[in-house]
């Protein structure tokens, strides 16, 4: 069975790129446009990995990850956070919230694939 990945980002085009890259590699993708939207999609679905942006309207990525980790089912779901180079402090906060890895935007779709493969194989 293909693994399911939830991608949370407020940029439509970024989600689309990640979606194209990851679904091309055989993963099943669920998209959400911000933290709130993402939480509403965490309802019993089996999700193997969450990729979330930090800077988003409504609910930011850090808050979303924190709340997601409160749900028993997703407590150990690995999270990749997407940040930009000038958001170093965010990385710390993301780590505290329970993110396992982060990627710095802009990244190449291939880098994303590598990171996902690495995390999912662990």
């Amino acid at each position: 069975m293909s693994k399911t990945i939830l991608i949370v980002d407020d940029s439509d085009s970024l989600r689309q790129v990640v979606n194209i890259a990851l679904s091309g590699a055989g993963y099943t993708i669920i998209e959400a446009c911000d933290g709130k939207d993402a939480l509403s999609k965490l309802t019993g679905l089996k999700i193997h990995l969450i990729i979330s942006d930090v800077n988003m309207p409504n609910m930011n990525g850090i808050e979303f990850v924190k709340q997601a980790k409160q749900i028993a089912q997703y407590k150990f779901t690995p999270v990749i956070m997407l940040t930009t180079e000038n958001q170093q402090h965010m990385m710390e906060e993301g780590k505290k919230a329970g993110a396992k890895a982060w990627m710095v935007k802009p990244f190449k779709p291939a880098q994303m694939l590598q990171a996902v493969a690495k995390l999912l194989s662990m």
Binding site: S11, N60, I62, L82, E85, N86, W102, P106, P109
Partner: protein
């Protein structure tokens, strides 16, 4: 691995456009007086917009966009931190950067070359932003106290140039040799060090002899400019990642480049060896985690403050291709016509149940018609908001101060109108600022407030939409208009015209009273186009003006173009339709007035009021008279004008699908389209505004000559 991202690119374009619009709105908002809290919120959302564009552009590899957005982002970040004060010049620079980014987004998406004009603009902007970033205080307002804590390591103090040069896998296959570029560079610069890495070659069994696995770090001294160095790599830039860091590079750039390159430890070693960067900077670079942090189960710690976000506006909308909507409306139109026909047939059978079912169906069809027409309706606010920027730019260019107020932004009108009305509005606004609103010293002398006022207002008025553009400027100079019109031969010198018509002369082709031709207006093209454009939408233009107080231009447009509620009547066995909204009342002609009273007259005395009227039989040149027909009088209104239409008989309300007439009929006045009836017959749709005007014209020539 190649991934087809073309679909994502088009998403990127529309997303960026939306974000850039947000940015523009935000910047304009910043110019108005806001309290500090609101200001920082707006700056935050502008920052986020640029940030998102930069992130996505990076993924698509649109380096030009990344470069510019990066500068804008850094500048905005400094504004956020308070190290740079947002002044007028900076807002202007940010606004034009918005335009340049939009151009770059469009060009990058089309994969077309960036023209030199845009390149230069981007360069100029970069210079302005760098200027601010280099010395934030020189631009700060002296009265404001700036926090002295400047970001400590925003600039690395490297004395040498560093280039991270990563040719892609296919570089040899595409006929380019990276070493040729390095060789060339070595001749141009002093003391070139080359470090070569083979990181991308993971296993030997994957080795492809035609592929490139090398990447380079180049370090040298040179007093060339950044663009000169960049030009050396111009030919290979599409085949490689090239990060050029000039001496005293922007620190985040340097750091990002190191991490993008991959082996940070190697690079740090190398940087240390070249002695071009001091240790604190090296430490700052080293103090970072890799892209993928080592697995380390951490639990969330509660209690850290959550960050609230605001977005300038968030609308839950669905983007639909306009063509699809047009097709839907076309089909609904066909359905309405077929419905009318079926209804007719049902009535012919006399079958009660069938007729009842048909009535229900008819109602449903009507609902579908209304909702599908609503799909095309958009709020005019978006169009109005566009003019905020226009007003700002024009008034700055002319050295005038203008405040723009917008009313009725939520008024809805057909998408087709929005597109077509935008250009005419632009012309009118330009003219209002250029000719209408006086320069500040004149305004002061005339006891007016220094900033001029310009108002855009939209509202519904008896079946049409009215857009008002009013200013509190000097008003139209009637003497000047008449003089110029006579000179241009638009009117003869002895002609005396009512005020309204004098005002309308400004819409005559080639007309201008401006003595100096400015960049903005005065060439006498435009206003006649305005009138023509609006009339092509079955609308009309009126001008009201009072010398010294201001002028108002009224644009009146019909509600929709495609399907209307019509009112049908017949003249000499043919059916005609007019928009139901224009009908005021219907009367039996002989009950209102005796035939002999209106013989050879052009008006009816209706309840002691003068009502110009027109006999459609006469208008259509039907000579044959049918004595026994009891003629009806339909009183119609368009705008403020009223007239009566004398017709043979009334047929009542009728759902009308407007079909345009061919070019053959273009020159015909009083006819605006045609429609197909349930019976399959064709009925002509009449242009009420033209009918009223011709009735009034006849009335005026007849009555005033006598």
């Amino acid at each position: 691995m190649s991934i087809d991202l073309s679909a994502a690119v088009s998403t990127f374009v529309s997303e960026s456009k939306e974000l850039l619009q947000d940015m523009e709105d935000g910047l304009l908002e910043l110019e108005t007086s806001l309290i500090d809290e609101q200001k920082s919120e707006v700056i935050n959302s502008i920052f986020r917009a640029i940030h998102t564009i930069k992130g996505s552009a990076g993924i698509f590899g649109f380096t030009r966009i990344v470069d510019l957005t990066h500068l804008v982002e850094t500048t905005l970040d400094e504004i956020r931190l308070g190290t740079i004060t947002l002044d007028n010049r900076l807002i202007s620079a940010l606004l034009s950067s918005r335009d340049v980014i939009e151009t770059l987004v469009v060009l990058s998406a089309q994969e077309s070359e960036v023209d030199s004009h845009t390149k230069n603009k981007a360069k100029d902007l970069a210079a302005i932003f760098n200027d601010y970033l280099d010395d934030p205080h020189s631009h700060a307002m002296p009265s404001e106290i700036q926090p002295t804590t400047q970001a400590p390591h925003n600039r690395a103090n490297n004395t040498l140039w560093h280039i991270f040069f990563i040719p892609n896998e296919n570089v040899y296959r595409n006929g380019l040799d990276p070493f040729a570029f390095i060789n060339f560079l070595s001749k141009e610069v002093i003391d070139l060090h080359v470090n070569t890495y083979t990181k991308t070659l993971n296993t030997t069994d994957m080795f492809d002899p035609e592929s490139n696995y090398l990447s380079f770090h180049l370090c040298f001294a040179s007093n060339k400019s950044e663009s000169e160095i960049a030009d050396i790599f111009d030919f290979i830039k599409t085949e490689a990642i090239i990060k050029i860091l000039a001496p005293k590079a922007h620190f985040p750039d340097l750091k990002a480049a190191c991490y993008e390159f991959g082996d940070v430890a190697d690079i740090l070693n190398m940087l240390r060896n070249t002695n071009s960067i001091d240790d604190t900077v090296l430490k700052a670079i080293a103090d970072n985690k890799d892209y993928i942090q080592d697995p380390e189960p951490t639990q969330s710690t509660a209690g850290s403050p959550s960050i609230t976000h605001t977005k300038l506006h968030q609308s839950k909308t669905l983007r639909v291709e306009a063509l699809k909507l047009d097709r839907l409306i076309d089909q609904v139109g066909e359905m309405v016509i077929t419905g009318a026909r079926t209804n007719l047939l049902a009535h012919e059978t006399g079958n009660e149940t069938l007729i009842e079912a048909m009535a229900l169906l008819e109602r449903l069809v009507e609902n579908i018609r209304d909702s599908s027409l609503k799909l095309r309706m958009v709020q005019i606010g978006e169009t109005f908001n566009k003019f905020k920027r226009v007003v700002r730019d024009i008034s700055q260019e002319l050295g005038k101060e203008v405040e723009l107020t917008i009313e009725g932004a939520d008024t809805e009108l057909d998408k087709t109108f929005v597109e077509k009305v935008s250009d005419p509005l632009m012309h009118i606004i330009r003219n209002a600022i250029d000719h209408g609103i006086e320069p500040p010293h004149v305004r002061l002398a005339n006891n007016k407030s220094v900033p001029g006022h310009l108002k855009l207002k939209a509202y519904h008025d008896s079946g049409s939409i009215v857009i008002e553009i009013s200013d509190d400027g000097c008003g139209l100079d009637k003497a000047k208009i008449l003089k110029r019109a006579t000179e241009k031969g638009l009117i003869s010198a002895e002609q005396s015209l009512p005020d309204k018509e004098i005002n309308l002369l400004i819409f005559a082709p080639g007309f201008t009273t401006a003595e100096n031709i400015t960049n903005i207006s005065g060439r006498g093209v435009g206003m006649d186009v305005v009138k023509r454009n609006i009339e092509s939408l079955r609308g009309s233009v009126e001008v009201e003006s009072e010398p010294g107080v201001g002028s108002t231009i009224l644009i009146r447009l019909p509600l929709t173009l495609s399907i209307i509620d019509g009112f049908m009547f017949s003249v000499h066995n043919d059916n005609y339709v007019i928009p139901l909204d224009t009908v005021v009342e219907c009367l039996e002609l002989h009950e209102v007035v005796a035939e002999q009273d209106i013989q050879d007259k052009s008006y009816i005395n209706l309840r002691t009021e003068v009502l110009p009227f027109i006999r459609l039989r006469a208008l259509f040149g039907i000579e044959e008279r049918i004595a026994h027909t009891r003629e009806s009088l339909v009183i119609v209104q368009f705008g403020t004008l009223r007239a009566g239409l004398v017709v043979d008989s009334l047929k009542g309300e009728f759902q009308t699908v407007v079909k345009p007439l061919g070019r053959l009929f273009e020159g015909l006045k009083c006819i605006s389209g045609a429609t197909i009836l349930g019976s399959g017959d064709v009925a002509i749709i009449l242009d009420v505004s033209a009918l009223i005007k011709s009735a009034i014209a006849v009335y005026e020539t007849l009555e005033f000559k006598q």
